[in-house]
Subunit: 221 residues, 2 copies
Amino acid sequence: MTSFTEENYLKIIYKLSAETDSEVSTNAVAELTLTKAASVSDMLRKLSEKQLVNYQKYQGVRLTELGEAVALKVIRKHRLWEVFLVEKLGFNWDEVHEIAEQLEHIDSEELVERLDEFLGFPKFDPHGDPIPDTFGIMPELRYQNLSEISVGQSVVMMGVSEHSATFLQYLAKMGLTLGCHIVVKELNDFDKSLNVKLGDLSNHFISHEVAKNLLVKSIKN
Amino acid sequence: MTSFTEENYLKIIYKLSAETDSEVSTNAVAELTLTKAASVSDMLRKLSEKQLVNYQKYQGVRLTELGEAVALKVIRKHRLWEVFLVEKLGFNWDEVHEIAEQLEHIDSEELVERLDEFLGFPKFDPHGDPIPDTFGIMPELRYQNLSEISVGQSVVMMGVSEHSATFLQYLAKMGLTLGCHIVVKELNDFDKSLNVKLGDLSNHFISHEVAKNLLVKSIKN
DNA sequence: ATATTTTTTTAGATTAATCTAAAATTTAAT
DNA sequence: ATTAAATTTTAGATTAATCTAAAAAAATAT
């Protein structure tokens, strides 16, 4: 069995591995778990004993296949519950993360499968993140950041890579929701900020910081 | 804040208090929490410091108003989630207890209220137990046990006072579900077992042990 | 190549929840 | 009203997860 705490470590190691595609450092894990490096060292030793990670002192950590399977199950549950909260209970996309952080640790395979079915086997969560299937398989979607798009291009918003409530609220207020069309009108060289026109024809100023966290797909002409 | 563990203690003290309507003994709590009396003593001291229970050494324990409010919130969540699992996800009534034991500790007022609304503000859970409202108010329903019903009487099944999966499966197999009509045909004096006829006209033998755990309401003629 | 800085690990404590064994208190029985 | 039995509490350990401070290792800079 994996504890609530162990699951959180695995989830975070998974996330960091996916970003960097190499060994994950103790400090990086400490930052996301909101603990100290000393605590992480302890936990990595323990996860290593349980065959959930490959860990060599001072050399960083990687998930084993087993560890990755556990992490993907937690991520699957997190994302399915987020869909439930938004689609069925009417929460906004900026309100569901904290609750899903709790629900993701509920332990019942049967529950997950029935929830999946109840929701109509969704493929993406309310932030556009893909939902792993029962076998932990999740399509790797290679979207671009809005910050990489050149002037004149049209794109569709497919996801966000930052999930804080303030960020999500800011986007919603601007009308930036999943699926919306964006045309890059101007790129301001000095700070890389953008002027964009949305599908509803409204114009907006988007900072580079924000643009980096918007995942988009080019529209094929 | 109350921990997962503290909430379980409060819930169990609530249950035992409701049954006996007097101070609850350390041993009784130990039995239901599946811990030892020594552990319970420790926890009672701690809950007492937090003003959640009134506790005098060697004299048993009672919930304070605060403690009762917390217990009722947990019970509300447990029963609402059970309704969700049965009504929305299609679980049987004997499959939901363990899962609800986990879900009842999810901490979000907003979630509970929205879930309640989503379910249509149910008044009873799948076992016939009443669901406390937002304010912790729960009608006290004075049903009779089937074991107290005399020969010739007609009753409707309103609930069960035993929630184990085996018991619930046994009832379901016999056709004893909430709302079903029962006529007591015979009382066998030597073991107090009953012969009954159900609404579907099937006849059944019911042991005293089972009859004691069936909550019924007389039909007014 | 050595010294300095940064990162990581170890050592030793702390907190929550539990346990066993022993002591204290209450209840029951003669 | 004692004594015996049952219940409850305390004392002292244990486990999981965390911490701070110090030591060790790795990375960086001169």
